[in-house]
């Protein structure tokens, strides 16, 4: 019974930070469930993946976020994410716990390095008359208070990142933690648009892995329910805070979280 309370609290924290950064929050919830509550790693992945759907649905249902979503870009990338998710299922069902944990730690380390290298990057263009192309867009930027434009570049990098994100989504994370830095760092997408678009996409990504875990009976229903309800509450708080936060601070927070979780899991792999 105590576990249900802790899981709900962990879900609320993961949901809040996840909504703030455009990630599912799974990157925080997996170590909390696996190391904190001593759940087997597969069950931690399964419960976490369910909460990613909750974070995605709540944050994308916010009107402030909806205006930022690039639906065309998101849907196109979703093809590669779901293919990655399906490919991941083929592997994850046959990997040992040590291999799963090692893959998880390596993924997070790589993303932390990429995000840190591109922390000062801003992709907004003040000229609203330019042609933004088929995948670009315009939105009202809260930091400068003006209508701004952006173009999407290096689309193959976004497609590749989406495939890998889908693959690693089977490790209990929505993959937003990978897509947001790549979209922002390489593809010209402003951090807020990247976060909002990723938040919408991760729900679809997480469905692929969640259904696999659900059918295999890996999801512990009462813990998943507690985590999902915690996430739904926490996501609302995170979405409200995100609208008032500075882009650089959001990225800095993402790097600290990634580095901390990656270090924890490297220690676990070494031990």
């Amino acid at each position: 019974m105590l576990d249900v309370g802790w899981t709900a609290l962990g879900g609320a924290t993961a949901g809040c930070l996840g909504a703030l950064l455009g990630i599912g929050g799974g990157v925080l919830l997996v170590p909390f469930l696996n190391i904190g509550l001593r759940l087997p790693v597969q069950s931690a992945f399964a419960v976490s993946l369910v909460t990613v759907i909750a974070t995605s649905s709540v944050t994308s249902a916010s009107r402030s976020r909806a205006g930022l979503v690039n639906l065309r870009l998101g849907m196109m990338l979703e093809i590669f994410t779901t293919v990655g998710g399906l490919t991941g299922i083929l592997f994850v069902n046959h990997m040992s716990e040590r291999m799963l944990v090692g893959t998880f730690a390596a993924t997070l380390t790589g993303i932390a390095v990429v995000t840190l290298m591109r922390i000062d990057r801003r992709n907004v263009l003040r000229d609203t008359t330019i042609d933004v192309g088929l995948l670009g867009g315009r939105y009202r930027d809260v930091e400068c208070g003006e209508l701004v434009s952006y173009r999407v570049r290096h689309v193959p990098a976004a497609l590749g990142a989406s495939f890998v994100a889908g693959f690693v989504s089977n490790l209990g994370i929505g993959g937003g933690v990978l897509k947001v830095p790549v979209l922002n760092g390489w593809c010209g997408v402003p951090i807020r648009v990247a976060a909002a678009t990723s938040a919408l996409m991760i729900g679809a990504t997480a469905v692929v892995g969640s259904v696999n875990y659900f059918i295999r009976g890996e999801i512990i229903p009462h813990l998943a329910a507690a985590a999902a309800l915690g996430v739904i509450a926490g996501s609302r708080v995170g979405t409200a805070i995100a609208a008032r936060s500075r882009a650089k601070h959001l990225k800095g927070l993402l790097v600290v979280i990634l580095a901390g979780v990656a270090l924890t899991y490297w220690i676990k792999v070494a031990g």
């Binding site: 649905s57 639906l71 083929l90």
Partner: protein
């Protein structure tokens, strides 16, 4: 959504997401209360809540697909159609491999 030519699709998705979250949260909350009470009805209610949560993103893609076909938006139509097909494939694979 960032492009005005997507019409009312953004509003439809917003309404769908809100309704889906409210429904699944109610079922999960009820399931959790029943679980605390120790009744056998808890498991099917919790399972229904989890399934309803998983259906939200699928329903969002179905709505986008129907809308894109109606507006003849080729890029969005193909994208959503392919994603739906992959989702169905992954469910079938998971079911067979269980």
């Amino acid at each position: 959504m960032t492009r005005s030519d997507l019409g009312d699709l953004g509003n439809r998705i917003l309404a769908l997401l809100r309704a889906g979250v409210a429904l699944s949260a109610s079922m999960l909350g009820l399931g959790l209360i029943l679980w605390f009470a120790g009744t056998p009805a808890a498991q099917p209610v919790l399972a229904a809540g989890l399934v309803s949560l998983m259906v939200i993103p699928v329903a969002r893609i179905v709505v986008s697909f129907v809308d894109s076909v109606r507006r003849r938006d080729t890029l969005l139509g193909w994208s959503t159609g392919i994603v739906l097909s992959i989702m169905i494939l992954s469910v079938l694979y998971s079911w067979r491999a269980r």
